[in-house]
Amino acid sequence: MSKEFLGEFEELVLTMVGILQEDAYGNAIVSEIKDRVGRDVNLSAVHVTLYRLEDKGLVKSSMGGATNARGGRRKRIFQITNAGMAMLRAMKEARMDLWKLVPQLKIVLS
């Protein structure tokens, strides 16, 4: 594993960026998390996390096209980078490896 670690919330946001593909921007991620995990998260927290992930090079961002909605403001669309994918995969595998070590059947001898 690389030296960088992801916090639980960072991993969640990164995963959402991966899921949403071209449509990953602040509000979309907030509602996606609400839909899929049932968790109310704060918009500003998501933004801060996205910028932090961008600093770490796990996502990159660009401005989307202008729309009539949202007062004509453009969206900042985030996209997962290869490094981001690798990071997600590594984390998942590490967790699987650990999961396999947990005994699945517990036999209690009396």
Partner: protein, 884 residues
């Protein structure tokens, strides 16, 4: 279309970096629209504001600030890293730099605080700029001069003559008295009190002293009122309120009412008091209120803010001429003749602020004085010590320039601008100085705790704005100066030359470095010589033959309080075991001057007179040069006097001629006094002054002078038991009058306290300067041994002996120290001669002192440097040369 709150959007726009603004605002607006449709406008607006506030997050609003300065931050970070690595890489040199600098800075900051404190005297009075003391020609000294006392009448004439004056205050000095207080249960507490003053009722509107108890406006109005200091009130009344209590002042037990207690008096005032009587409590004031020659008061003037000082000075010039003649006529003295030898009778004014430091010659009759001379000396010495430390810093960084030159070459090759290189060197030097200042502050504190008890002065550290400014400015100035050479010289080279190593060899014999080393050693040798001379002078004071035996002499003060039992007390005491003799006399530690004439002539001489008993000369051991001492069984001795050699000279006699002559006193009618003896000169007072003319009256004489002390010559080592016996006897006769004594030799030592302090301070400073200088030298030699390793190796291969190599390494520094001795000698000689000239009795400076200081310094240097050079010389050449 619903709109979100404007202020929230503005706030967002204000803190949010431009790059992020659009995306965030869009998301917020989208969410707002959604909320409006689901939750209604009011709730949506509230949520919008809340969300905006949640965005006010350091990772958002600090974002662009950092990224814009990204390049600079990286460079600065690199400067810090490189400094850190350099400090760690050369631990020895860094230690020498930082330790030396911290010491220098500590000395400097401590001195700064001390000097500030000494200069802050009397600054706290709000009108201090308009406050002056009235000085005048010293009318009691035949040679004139200036002193700070005046007669009580002067104040009235001032007020009449000068419209420029807003307020006048007189302070009188009634001197030490016994103060008693009778407790309700009849017990009496009594103290010998020294710090007693009397002042006009406007004292508290003139000076800014605060009262803890009592009303400042009325406290000193009328007779028999007194203000106590906090400490005196505590002494007399414990924790009870002092207000309204009655104390008894002096032998006449004058009942005086306490009308106030001062809050703690500031340390930096030119006088302190324990008892401040109202002016007319001292009955003498009324009696002498017309007088211009009863110079027992100090007159202070506060001018109007708009006073014309030029006109004032002009009028003041003729002030005495206008008023003094009338006052003198009243006692039958002719003005013209009185002022003839003194160059006229002139008044002058001196700012109150200057009294403490600038009264070395004028004096201050109500408190201690400092001396601006010592402030200057101290400041110069402290600055020099700092310079020695800065020189170390400069020397080591130039010496190590050879190594750094390579670093510069590599960096230049990699494309670093010269600007950044200069900045890097400067940052490095400033950072090292910052660290030194921090250590310096810690050292200052420990130095302060060490110095204070040693020299007996209190040095308060005040974190005033200026002090903080000095602390902050120090690293920038020192670091910048020390960094100048490396940052500009080293960065100026051509890259290819540096990397080929052509520059490096040029650093070894730097003329700059040698002259700086000479500078350092000149200072420390001069300081060492100064320390030796100061101590020699002190030694001289203590061992000089004073003309009498100062050891084993006990003085019982205020013996006149015994009244008519004095003589029986003296006889009793002189019978005690271990007492060889005891005598009653006026206190010869003080001067009681008056004017005398010889018979058949009108030559007037100001002579200090003392009434002494028949045992005086036997007890003190003062030798007679001619004639005889007083004898018990000769009633005619009542009208006989004994004079000193100096007095005889003043009248123009030899010792033998003086015998049988008559002296006439000009004051009261006591008849002509026959001279029966002439004593050798002796120093009962400080050796700072020349011997003043003195004469002795018989204790039975009708000459004035009621003051008495008893001198006791004892023979044992530890006079503890004797003291206990004397004290017991005293209280049997004197009941509630406190017993007070002193040992003469101890008191004598105290007179040279200021010189003693100077000596201690000098030895501390000299020690520090030597330490700093020597560790700097060690640094230099260690470095030169390092870069000459190979040269030494090759010399050894060719057969040079260890001795020769050690000699080669040392000879350079020995030469430098030799030059320093030559430079330091005339410099220190001149300064020290000036200092010594302020004493009437002084040692001669011997050149040996400078030789000794030079040799001491040389030994120290050779000891430290010798080890390093020996180590360099004994290295195995094979080890040194193998990697080439």
């Amino acid at each position: 279309m619903k709109k979100p709150p404007r202020f929230a959007l503005r706030f967002l726009e204000w803190f949010c970096p431009d790059a992020l603004y659009e995306g965030i605002e869009g998301d917020l607006l989208e969410k707002f629209d959604e909320d409006v449709s689901c939750l209604g406008e009011r709730k949506a607006r509230r949520r919008f504001v809340w969300s905006v506030i949640r965005f006010f997050h350091p990772e958002i609003f600090l974002r662009n600030r950092f990224s814009l300065q990204l390049i600079n931050t990286i460079m600065w970070r690199s400067y810090f890293t490189i400094t850190y690595r350099n400090v760690l890489k050369n631990k020895g040199y860094s230690f020498i730099n930082i330790f030396g600098l911290s010491l220098g800075i500590a000395v400097c900051l401590l001195t700064y605080n001390f000097v500030r404190f000494e200069q802050s005297y009397d600054n706290f009075h709000p009108d201090v700029d308009r406050m002056y003391r009235l000085n005048q020609t010293n009318i009691w000294d035949p040679a004139g001069g200036v002193f700070g006392s005046t007669g009580p009448a002067v104040a009235f004439k001032l007020k009449e003559d000068f419209a420029e004056i807003e307020e006048i205050l007189r302070i009188n000095t009634p001197y030490g008295k016994v103060i008693r207080h009778e407790k309700p249960n009849g017990d009496i507490v009594a103290f010998n009190e020294e710090r007693i003053l009397a002042a006009d009722s406007n004292f508290f509107s003139f000076f800014d002293f605060k009262l803890k108890e009592g009303d400042a406006r009325t406290a000193l109005i009328g007779k028999d009122k007194v203000i106590l200091s906090e400490e005196a009130a505590q002494r007399l009344f414990g924790n009870e309120s002092a207000l309204g209590k009655i104390i008894q002042v002096g032998d006449e037990r004058l009942a005086v009412e306490v009308t106030g207690v001062t809050a703690k008096q500031p340390d930096n005032v030119h006088f302190h008091f324990d008892y401040l009587l109202s002016m007319y409590t001292n009955r003498n004031i009324k009696q002498f209120e017309w007088s211009w020659v009863w110079t027992q008061v100090v007159t202070y003037i506060k001018f109007r803010p708009d006073a014309d000082m030029v006109a004032f000075h002009e009028k003041l010039n003729t002030f005495a001429d206008r008023h003094a003649p009338a006052a003198l006529k009243r006692i039958g003295i002719d003005y013209e003749e009185f002022v003839k030898d003194k160059g006229g009778w002139k008044f002058s004014i001196q700012p109150v602020r200057d009294i403490y430091l600038h009264s070395a010659l004028i004096g201050n009759r109500i408190g201690p004085t400092g001396d601006i001379k010592y402030i200057y000396i101290l400041t110069i010495v402290a600055v020099f010590i700092l310079l020695i430390a800065v020189v170390n810093f400069i020397n080591l960084s130039t010496a190590r320039g050879a190594t750094r030159a390579k670093e510069v070459g590599v960096k230049k090759t990699l494309g670093l601008m010269r600007n950044s290189l200069v900045t890097q060197f400067q940052v490095e030097h400033i950072l090292i100085t910052v660290v030194s200042v921090i250590f310096g502050l810690v050292l200052m504190e420990s130095l302060r705790l060490m110095v204070q008890p040693l020299v007996g002065i209190n040095i308060p550290v005040q974190w005033s704005l200026t002090f903080v400014g000095v602390v902050l400015a120090l690293p920038i100035v020192i670091g910048f100066l020390a960094g100048l050479y490396p940052s500009f010289y080293l960065t100026s080279f051509n890259v290819s030359q540096v990397l080929k190593g052509k520059i490096a060899s040029g650093f070894r014999s730097s003329g700059l470095r040698n002259s700086l080393v000479v500078f350092q050693f000149t200072i420390s040798i001069a300081l060492m010589a100064a320390t030796i001379i100061v101590f020699q002078q002190l030694q001289y004071f203590q061992t000089k033959n004073l003309g009498f035996d100062k050891e084993n002499l006990l003085v019982i003060n205020y013996a006149d309080k015994l009244g008519n039992q004095l003589e029986s007390f003296r006889q009793e005491v002189s019978q005690y075991p271990g007492v060889s003799s005891a005598s009653t006399s006026m206190d010869i530690r003080f001067s009681f001057e008056d004017i005398f004439m010889r018979q058949g002539d009108d030559k007037k001489v100001s002579i200090s007179q003392y009434k002494v008993d028949d045992h005086f000369f036997a007890t003190t051991g003062i030798q007679l040069a001619a004639g005889r001492a007083f004898e018990e069984n000769r009633p005619s001795d009542k009208n006989a006097v004994i004079i000193t050699e100096t007095t005889a000279r003043q009248f123009g006699w030899t010792n033998e001629q003086a015998l049988g002559q008559y002296i006439v006193y000009l004051g009261d009618e006591i008849g002509p006094q026959e001279i029966i003896g002439v004593t050798n000169d002796f120093h009962f007072q400080s050796l700072r002054q020349n011997i003043a003319p003195m004469m002795f009256f018989n204790v039975r004489s009708s000459m004035w002078g009621d003051d008495r002390t008893i001198l006791i010559r004892y023979s044992m080592q530890e006079p503890k038991e004797l003291l206990a016996m004397i004290e017991k006897e005293w209280y049997q006769l004197a009941q509630d009058t406190p017993f007070s004594y002193s040992f003469y030799d101890q008191e004598l030592k105290m007179q040279y306290e200021q010189e003693q302090r100077l000596g201690s301070l000098f030895s501390i400073f000299t020690g520090l300067s030597i330490v700093i200088g020597v560790i700097g030298l060690i640094g230099l030699v260690a470095y030169s041994a390092e870069i000459r390793k190979k040269e030494i190796g090759i010399r050894k291969v060719f057969g040079a002996s260890t001795t020769r190599i050690v000699a080669m390494m040392n000879s350079q520094y020995i030469k430098l120290i030799f030059i320093s001795v030559l430079l330091a000698t005339p410099l220190a000689w001149w300064f020290l001669q000036k200092w010594l000239n302020s004493f009437a009795y002084r040692i001669d400076i011997s050149p040996g002192v400078f030789v000794a200081a030079g040799v001491a310094e040389l030994m120290l240097a050779i000891l430290c440097v010798g080890y390093l050079s020996l180590r360099a010389a004994t290295l195995n050449p094979a080890e040194v040369l193998k990697d080439e």
